[in-house]
Symmetry: C2
Subunit: 344 residues, 2 copies
Amino acid sequence: KKIVTLAGDGIGPEIMAAGLQVLEAVAPKINFEYETKARNFGGAAIDADGHPLPDETLASAKSSDAILLAAIGGPQYNDAEVRPEQGLLELRKELGLFANIRPVQIFEALKHLSPLKAEIIEGVDFVVVRELTGGIYFGEHSLNKQFARDVNDYSYEEIERIIRVAFDIARGRGKKVTSVDKQNVLATSKLWRIVAEEVAKDYPDVQLEHALVDSLAMKMITNPSDFDVIVTENLFGDILSDESSVLPGTLGVMPSASHAQNGPSLYEPIHGSAPDIAGLGIANPISMILSVAMMLRESFGETTGAQYIEDAVNKTLLDGVLTKDLGGNASLDEMTSAIINNLC
Amino acid sequence: KKIVTLAGDGIGPEIMAAGLQVLEAVAPKINFEYETKARNFGGAAIDADGHPLPDETLASAKSSDAILLAAIGGPQYNDAEVRPEQGLLELRKELGLFANIRPVQIFEALKHLSPLKAEIIEGVDFVVVRELTGGIYFGEHSLNKQFARDVNDYSYEEIERIIRVAFDIARGRGKKVTSVDKQNVLATSKLWRIVAEEVAKDYPDVQLEHALVDSLAMKMITNPSDFDVIVTENLFGDILSDESSVLPGTLGVMPSASHAQNGPSLYEPIHGSAPDIAGLGIANPISMILSVAMMLRESFGETTGAQYIEDAVNKTLLDGVLTKDLGGNASLDEMTSAIINNLC
Ligand SMILES: CC(C)[C@H](C(=O)O)[C@@H](O)C(=O)O
Ligand SMILES: CC(C)[C@H](C(=O)O)[C@@H](O)C(=O)O
């Protein structure tokens, strides 16, 4: 299996190394054979090649079996002409990564970190499914000194395939899909709701409910345990999936997957590149490590290996091994070693 | 002073009556003279005239000094051709109500209702300023069976005037503006950020910070006391202002104002028409009553009258007079009378 690794910027290289150590440790236990290729991406690639997604990186990514991405960006690119994020948007588009999946779960050992009351986050366990290659992100943009325009386009097919992903996931879980739109205002949302209803006919075992995005932004906080699978378009998904990360109280334990119709999937932590602590060896590698677990399960069918990693992370946290962001003082290396030691 | 009242649907008529009782009680204390005209609006107007914003209602609203709106909508219109919300969008556009203002505050007596931990909501006191007549709400919408499009337009002037509103408000409060956009993706957000920087030059005493909408959706929950004035475009404002209402833990105590460049302002509760409890006499009138207070202050310069009402509401809640939604069993009339009795 060929895995392309994009370490990127800030804490990216450190946490990627941690993720790969865990992969190396779990592989023999499950007879998983693989090779990795590190490629330039993001700010690091801008510095080296002037472009955040060099041709060679794209070509390697396309011919891989899965892609691990750590983190990109940094303050030095904030006002730059070419920005690391452009590489990410291009990569999503080029690989057709239309389905972004973010599981939201509360770790027992980290419950106290949540800004929400214990009774509110009790039983929270849902997945946000975000459309990732359409909508206002990829419509026409125009800008001059006096006026700006963005165009939000969705076709029936673009909506249908992401709704199907949501229903397929729900079928294997709590059998409920919450489809989020702004149907009382947007044409794209009117179509979205029609398609959701249409697709639902193929899944009589799964319940479909609709929610307006403004209302869902409340309910996600007031009633987070009501949800199983939340599916929405690109921009709403950007906002809601970030909002959902307040439930666990830390960005440090949340992985994500992005899938295409065909071809490799991409796995990455949801957090950023944390330039302020880059190189200090204190970054929390858990989101990256859990992204490796997601890759094993979703790209390679290695359920056991994924479970080993997830259990080891859980145990490590319960043991009280916590990095600074989680309120402890374990270093990145200490955390990584503890997780490896806790692998079955 | 001519006040047009739009009671609308569901609990609208009941809470409007409560708001007007409080106005009637406070008026002699501050020598405030006024007359009210009730007009049809929303679902009630669809039922009567086939249109949610009848010509007569619009004409009366235009020639008024202020407008009070209670609530509109109901399940019977969900799949209707003509919907109550269309009347609201038309009214905003016709009156040029470009600046929507929502104060977010925590009532001491209701703190326990918040889904957030006490230490998180400590000191929360900010205002969301939402652009209300531009953006994707009012751009071209097109829809057919296969494809849908919405267009998001902003001109320099549209952005400038709302940013100025935010800075003016911040100048009278905590002197900090948080401007929210999605500048790494949207052209309208790039222009937004440029204009915000430009306007900031006229307010050297006010601090400007920028935030991406996804990141703000988190920080509003994790660090809500960091904010003073949050300003954003129409769609982001819709989502974020609803999200902000989770902080007090109830929609039942939040008023809003919408201002135009010239002409009357509109005041309304942020909650909906609660059709399930309509007519039962148990609705919570506080958002409506606080909207009356906002009207006195912002349209008529009656600061004292506004303060009388706000203090009376505060005292009533501290006295433990609570409607059902707030965990008590006071009726709408009992709550309204208690507030009136507590007026200085
Ligand atoms: C970096 C940015 C373009 C990106 C997005 O908005 O999609 C990020 O916020 C994300 O959610 O992955
Ligand atoms: C009813 C709807 C069109 C409206 C909006 O989206 O503006 C509402 O959600 C609001 O915030 O006032």
